[in-house]
Amino acid sequence: MKILVCIKQVPQKDAPLKLNETGTWIREDVSYEINEPDAYALEEALRQKEKHGGEVVAITSGPARSQQVLREALAKGADRAIHLEDNAFVGFDAYNTARAFAAAIKDEQFDLIFTGLQSDDYGYAQTGVILAELLGHPHATIIMQIEKSDSGIRVKRELEAGYFQFVDMPLPAVLTIQSGISKLRYATLIGIKQAKNKPLRKVALAEVQSALSDNLQKIERLYVPQKTKKTEIIDGSPNEIAKKLVERLRNEVRVL
């Protein structure tokens, strides 16, 4: 199977974020890492390749710094990588990102395209599904498990409230992968060494420009959310605290 994995580079989880001067984005001088859900998408792609053979290709868009996530993917076992390299990609909405990816892979035929279920920066949870629509492929989201079947694949979707569902799908297909479904591998030293010689295709903004549109949505303002809650401190001995809480539960919260 030939599998494309879409990976995003995002600020590290615990990185302190500062707003830029216009208050429309963060300042770029933070540490970055691979978007955690995408790491699971990559892991699943590598496992599928180990089972069925084929090829795993990692793709990302972003400035030079984002090449790091592709190097990581190559070191873990991806065969090659595609980097849509430009600062402008950072400000793309999900629709434009998907259009850029679709344009960058237009001469290739992938059996499966994986994304993480959402990004830890924007959190839109849309790029994979939009890409499916642009490519005319069926899709399924929040996937826990993928098995090859006679006619394509059988996937296990997570639904809400502890429900699951198996879905049979033809190939090619786009899947968004749930986080935490497997144990992530580490890159080995030899993997890191080999990664240096694996092909990495750079795609300039100009090469995909004709496939893009204006962004259809715009971040007007980014800001630190205001604390709206007034916190009441409940203190005293454990017995006093228990009594005070029950009083609030009855009269304020009204759940008793």
């Binding site: 989880k13 974020l17 963060i26 999900a94 629709y95 830890d120 920066d121 924007y122 959190g123 949870a125 849309q126 790029t127 599904v129 939009i130 499916a132 629509e133 642009l134 069926p138 899709h139 399924a140 929040i142 639904l159 809400e160 409230a161 502890g162 429900y163 699951f164 569902q165 879905v167 049979d168 033809p170 935490g180 204006d214 962004n215 259809l216 949505q217 715009k218 971040i219 007007e220 303002r221 980014l222 800001y223 630190v224 959310p225 604390k227 916190t231 009441e232 401190i233 409940i234 203190d235 454990p238 605290i241 228990a242 809480l245 029950v246 609030r248 304020e252 009204r254 759940v255 008793l256």
Partner: protein, 330 residues
């Protein structure tokens, strides 16, 4: 402005979050001088349409086809794309459920438009509508506008609006059944029956009272006291990610960015420090009580009632007091 709310039904019930989306739609319609209509999509959904029609709405559509059951993104997009093209709403609002997440990006793309997803509110800036959403796992918030032509799509996070604030109408809204055809070949996925894995799988998104435990519970056996408190309150037990990663509670009880987003009346957090990944899943709770030893724990930032102390000292008398109060009520 014409606004359309698409509500969600599943397993023979309207998803409770649908009322929140209707409340959001009513507020937006009032603020923009718009009209509000609602639609329910599926097979045999006119009962739901009648239920919704009790609310203050200009009209309710039952978008019907045998081909819409079971749910597939292909059929839903086919039906809604056609309906939206005819009905021409300027703004389409939906709850940000797993099912909506599965089809709305495809629908917006098919309609040549975009969706601002997982919003927690909206603002009016002059004539411009801004939709507020969390970014960077809730560390920052953004006001986002639409820059293209409609139809615009917006999804709202569970708990963003109060379902009980959805206004009833003076008389029932008219219901129109819209029969749609799903031609062969449109639906490519073949879904099987939905099933539950864990025997006691719970739907925390519908829970009114949640008692949640975090690392502060220390050992698996200590979960019993949190469970006893949940039972005394008539609530459900939940946890932060480390507890589920340890296998002390099943995954379906995990709250946060890789688990459920909940909005109960009461969220009682025991020994939860309040990592951002957890907070995004529960900050919509109407009341938050936090018990934590560490006075600096970020959970206190969003708590209504803060108890700085050892949960093992506080929970046992709390269980007793709750039981006493319940006994006095009956």
């Amino acid at each position: 402005m014409k606004i359309l709310v698409v509500v969600e039904q599943r397993e023979g019930k309207l998803n409770r979050v649908s009322w929140e989306t209707i409340a959001a739609g009513q507020a937006l319609a009032a603020d923009t001088g718009g009209t509000l209509e609602a639609a329910v999509v599926g097979a045999g959904v006119s009962g739901y349409a009648a239920e919704i029609a009790a609310k203050k709405l200009a009209k309710v559509y039952a978008i019907e086809s045998a081909g819409l059951e079971p749910y597939t993104p292909d059929a839903f997009v086919h039906a809604l794309k056609g309906f939206i093209a005819t009905n021409q709403p300027a703004l389409v609002m939906m709850p940000h459920t797993y099912q909506v997440r599965d089809f709305v990006p495809k629908l917006a793309t098919a309609a040549g438009s975009t969706c601002i997803s997982d919003c927690i509110g909206y603002k009016k800036d002059g004539d411009k509508l801004l939709f507020t959403r969390q970014m960077f796992q809730g560390k920052l918030a953004a006001d986002v506008s639409f820059t293209g032509a409609g139809p615009w799509f917006v999804t709202f996070q569970n708990g963003a609006f109060r379902g009980d604030k959805a206004e009833a109408g003076a008389a029932a809204a008219p219901v129109e059944v819209v029969n749609v055809e799903i031609p062969a070949g449109v639906v490519r996925n073949q879904p099987h029956e939905v099933f539950k894995e864990a025997k006691q799988a719970v739907d925390l998104t519908q829970a009114e009272i949640i008692v949640a435990v975090g690392r502060g519970i220390k050992e698996e056996k200590n979960i019993a006291i949190a469970k006893a408190l949940a039972e005394a309150l008539g609530g459900d037990l939940a946890a932060s990610r480390p507890i589920c990663d340890n296998g002390w509670l099943p995954m379906d009880r995990q709250i946060g960015s890789s688990g459920q987003t909940v909005a109960p009346k009461l969220y009682l957090a025991l020994g939860i420090s309040g990592a951002i990944q957890h907070i995004v899943g529960m900050k919509g709770a109407r009341t938050i009580i936090a018990v934590n030893k560490d006075a600096e724990a970020p959970i206190f930032e969003i708590a209504d009632y803060a108890v700085v102390g050892n949960l093992f000292d506080i929970v046992p008398p709390l269980i007793e007091e709750v039981k006493k109060a319940k006994a006095a009520n009956s």
